[in-house]
């Protein structure tokens, strides 16, 4: 069983593409689509890495990130934020809340793979 990544994203076809991509790279990919229950999913089994979308049904990715950093079990888990907004203030907000990486949609597969590998190595 490979290293575990949790992808929190509500777009089914993005989930499918990233899941395939990371699985092929040796990751065990878990997915979750709901912002409201995302923390429960994380706490069930803390992954090595979290890929977190900003706009989620139920709860914003920023709020989830804030909770992740507040919990000792997840405070140090690398989090890559995915967002459709790439403005400086969004990047600053994500960084200030503790995001490890910030990626603007539409991203390339190569960028996702490179970032995930770099985060895992760090």
């Amino acid at each position: 069983m490979g290293r575990r990544v949790l992808l929190i994203e509500d777009e089914p076809n993005i989930i499918e593409a990233i899941s395939y991509l990371l699985s092929r790279d040796g990751w065990t990919v878990h997915t979750h689509s709901d912002g409201e229950t995302a923390m429960d999913k994380v706490m069930q089994s803390v992954p090595e890495l979290i890929i977190l979308d900003v706009m989620l049904p139920g709860r914003s990715g920023y709020d989830i990130l804030r909770d992740l950093r507040a919990q000792s079990a997840t405070a140090d888990v690398p989090v890559m934020m995915l967002t459709a907004r790439g403005q400086a203030r969004d990047r600053e907000l994500a960084t200030s809340l503790g995001a490890t990486q910030f990626m603007t949609k539409p991203f390339s597969n190569a960028d996702v793979l490179d970032s995930v590998r770099a985060l895992a190595a760090s």
């Binding site: 777009e11 593409a17 990233i18 991509l21």
Partner: protein, 421 residues
């Protein structure tokens, strides 16, 4: 009796500005010259009836002459001055300006108010684009779908040995997402266009408000068939004036092309504008307008129309499907409406299509003609008219844009500025 310390000064200044003699003014008012002299030097109070008469003789608004509006103008004047700190203003002379040139002072004040209103509107539109949840949601949908397509397409291209099941699944995903992208991007553009064109109801220009009125009526005014006029008293005066002008023209067209016989002929002639113009002996532009203003519930084909003046400003339009021209000269110059404008009198027929998936090809008929009365030494006004309807047949459409700002065509010799899409 009103206490107006400076009214006399204003009377004197106004009289001198008009080049009138004190004695002549006094004679018109049936008062003595010496009494007027005392008034002008603020040594006699002036009654309201006399002030009204003076205003009449001096051809000035009584409120301006009486100073009643001075306080109201002073504030906006100060604000107007403060808005341009780099311009040297004799601030201490503001009251003198109001006294000596009340009309000009009122104009500056009104302009300052108008600038503030326009700035507020620009701000409101900017805020809406930045923070409107519907726009944000539409944009998110577009970008998310594009992300899914990009990611999936890359996997397909970069994985020649992809399992056939996965390949089929990804192909299906791309197909689904492509359709979603087409829908969501069209919805977004339509929303942006509508929002920018319509603006906030309270901030809409009279033309925008008039457009809304016509849209409410589906651009059909049944009263014109009987040469009567609908009640427009509920509209703002400026909006009413515009709508009245449009309806008046519809009425003129209806008089030349009576509904019953025109509908019958239009059906028989497959809505061919040129044949109809010949049949009824009327100029082509009359037929173009009339075709676009047939009763909406009688099974006629969907038809829109646009007119523009010689500056290219769209002066009237009836949108149809996704046809809607930008106002204020920001439209794509490739529309036949503008091609017609370059050759007045020549009828133009083109099939055009806007860029993007699932766009409707439109058959356009256009002509530019002189309007208004002919007079020696007066430049004849030119107006272009274009009828637009979904194209029938398989003529390859030419590409026209929705306006440079939101046009996706990269290589275009007519592009004025970069696109935001």
């Amino acid at each position: 009796m009103a206490e107006r310390a400076l009214t006399g000064t204003r009377v004197r200044n106004r009289r001198l500005d008009l080049g009138l003699r004190q004695a002549d003014v006094a004679r018109q008012l049936n008062i003595s010259g010496s009494y007027l002299n005392l008034i002008e030097h603020n040594r006699r109070r002036i009654t309201d009836p006399l002030l009204a008469e003076l205003a009449l003789v001096l051809d000035i608004d009584v409120a301006l002459l009486g100073g009643g509006t001075a306080d109201a103008i002073l504030g906006p004047l100060a604000e107007a001055a403060a808005a341009f700190p780099d311009v040297h203003i004799e601030n201490t002379k503001a009251e003198e300006l109001i006294d000596r040139f009340p009309g000009w002072a009122a104009l500056i004040s009104a302009q300052a108010g108008r600038i503030a209103q326009l700035e507020q509107r620009a701000q409101a539109l900017g805020d809406r684009l930045a923070h409107d949840t519907q726009i944000a949601s539409s944009l998110h949908e577009v970008i998310s779908t594009a992300t899914a397509i990009r990611s999936t397409a890359s996997i397909l291209v970069e994985s020649p040995d992809l399992d056939p099941d996965w390949r089929g699944r990804f192909h299906g995903n791309i197909d689904t997402d492509a359709a979603r992208l087409a829908e969501s991007s069209q919805a977004l553009l339509g929303f942006l266009d509508t929002e920018v064109e319509a603006g906030d109801g309270a901030l809409a220009t009279p033309v925008e408000a008039a457009d809304t009125v016509m849209a409410t009526w589906q651009h059909y005014v049944p009263e014109v068939e009987t040469q009567t006029f609908p009640d427009l008293m509920q509209l703002e005066p400026a909006t009413r004036e515009i709508v009245e002008g449009w309806i008046e023209r519809m009425g003129q067209d209806a008089a030349r092309l009576p509904l019953s016989s025109f509908e019958q002929a239009a059906r028989a002639m497959a809505y061919d504008p040129a044949r109809l113009a010949t049949r009824f002996h009327v100029p082509l532009e009359v037929v173009l307008r009339r075709l676009a203003h047939l009763p909406p519930d009688q099974g006629h084909p969907a038809m829109g129309v646009a007119t523009c003046d010689a500056a290219g400003v769209v002066t009237y339009q009836k949108p149809v499907l996704d046809f809607r021209m930008a106002r204020a000269g920001a439209a794509c110059p490739l529309w036949p409406l503008y091609q017609a404008l370059t050759h007045p009198g020549r009828a133009v027929r083109r099939v055009v299509q806007m860029p993007g998936v699932a766009r409707t090809p439109f058959e356009c008929f256009a002509i530019a003609t002189p309007v208004g009365d002919v007079a020696f030494g007066v430049e004849q006004r030119i107006e272009a008219t274009m009828l637009v309807r979904p194209a029938r047949g398989d003529v390859a459409p030419e590409t026209v844009g929705p306006g440079c700002r939101i046009c996706a065509v990269e290589s275009c010799a007519s592009r004025r500025h970069p696109s935001i899409v």
